[in-house]
Amino acid sequence: MLSCIDLSIEILGKKIVSNLGLSLLPGAIYVLKGANGSGKTSFLKTLAGINENYQGKILWNNKSIEKDVFFSYIISYLGHENALKEDLSVIDNLNLWADFKGNHLLIAPSIVQFDLAEHLEKKCKYLSAGLKKRVALARMIISNGMLWLLDEPESNLDDKGMELLLKLLQAKINSGGIVIIASHNLEHYKKVPVIQMEDFKDVQ
């Protein structure tokens, strides 16, 4: 279970999120909704451990993430950027991240899941935006975390890519994972709890 207690996030001296409190149970998708600048990305980055400029507590299974040395191992994160090296091929990119996680066995399933077999040797700079997003999503499988943080993952995906993504998200929550998605397109995610970021805006 992921819990946030009185969480306030500051970016460049400005409080973006204030007094956020929630508990997220495993096996579910949660969607963060809010206008631009409402703190969706900052919240995801804070959970991911990229932004450490926050007050309050973030607990994973009732243990502070700051004290949990293994917390980074359970996170998979996809931001606005795909984090692909454009001058490397698709397979080289996947291999790189698999090297860091020691998860080479997950490369093949990730390729199958996102239908990347015919693009493996292509350099990422020659891929379409949608295919790049699929490669980035394939990395999510390789990183194999229990807590998935996705920032507008549906951007640039066509219908087929979206279908593959939704299948993957379903598989993740079926295996007991927690998926948190920042999105403006709620029509893709039906019957999921929605967290309104405006509810945690600094009133001052």
């Binding site: 991911a48 990229i50 932004n51 996170i75 998979s76 994160y77 931001g79 795909n82 991240w97 990183s143």
Partner: protein, 222 residues
């Protein structure tokens, strides 16, 4: 952790060497700078040899800044830096991998450009080899300091701006020591004499690199 550091370093080296645009344009920059430098002072081609050392030192200062200043730019822009942190790789390891890659790339460029330029400047092979060796021994200090400066630029705050300014005196000091050592070689002194200067650069590397790694550990991206 050592495994991750090794993989990341190899990846950075691989990327800097397969990316012809990077090392080729940097080599070309160094080459043109050394070629054009004497013209700014004297157009008499016969007296070119006098300007060999000044042009080497100036070019190295410009090249080290050129090679290292963008070390983190791409990683920040394409989101790789975020992913590396999430994948549990500490900032000091990311910093060190960049330093190692820059050392390899810079050494590679020096070994290509300097022998060619020595022909142009009519410098003896023995002298050139000794100067190259001096430079290679000083590159770890130059790159580690310069990459730390590049890393500080990610951190947008007043303190980091001051720290960036502090990096340059260190670079200049290293280059002055390199220049003194190379002057000894050009004056016909034994390499041991030149090495007595370069020892300072090596000592500074051994002192500063762990210190900079420790400092980079606490740097945040925001």
């Amino acid at each position: 952790m050592f495994n991750k550091l090794l993989r990341l370093s190899l990846f950075e080296i691989y990327r800097s060497l397969i990316n012809n645009k990077t090392w080729l344009s940097n080599s070309l920059f160094l080459f043109i700078n050394m070629l054009v430098f004497p013209f700014a002072i004297n157009t008499d081609i016969e007296s070119y040899g006098v300007y060999f050392l000044p042009s080497v030192i100036t070019s190295i200062l410009l090249a080290v800044v050129l090679i290292t200043s963008n070390a983190f730019d791409e990683d920040v822009k394409d989101g790789t830096l975020d992913q590396l942190i999430i994948f549990g790789i500490p900032l000091y390891a990311i910093y060190l991998s960049k330093v190692i890659a820059a050392i390899v790339e810079f050494s590679f460029i020096i070994c290509i450009v300097l022998p060619i330029m020595a022909i142009f400047y009519k410098i003896e092979h023995r002298v050139v080899l000794q100067i190259i060796l001096n430079i290679l021994l000083s590159i770890p200090l130059l790159t580690s300091v310069s990459i730390f400066g590049a890393m500080l630029t990610m951190n947008i705050s007043k303190n980091s701006a001051i720290a960036v300014l502090l990096v340059f005196p260190l670079l200049i000091s290293a280059l002055i020591i390199l220049s003194l050592a190379s002057t000894e070689i050009l004056n016909g002194s034994d390499f041991i004499v030149a090495f007595s200067y370069i020892k300072i650069n090596i000592g500074l590397t051994l002192f500063l690199l762990p210190l900079l790694m420790w400092l980079s550990k606490s740097l945040k991206q925001f």
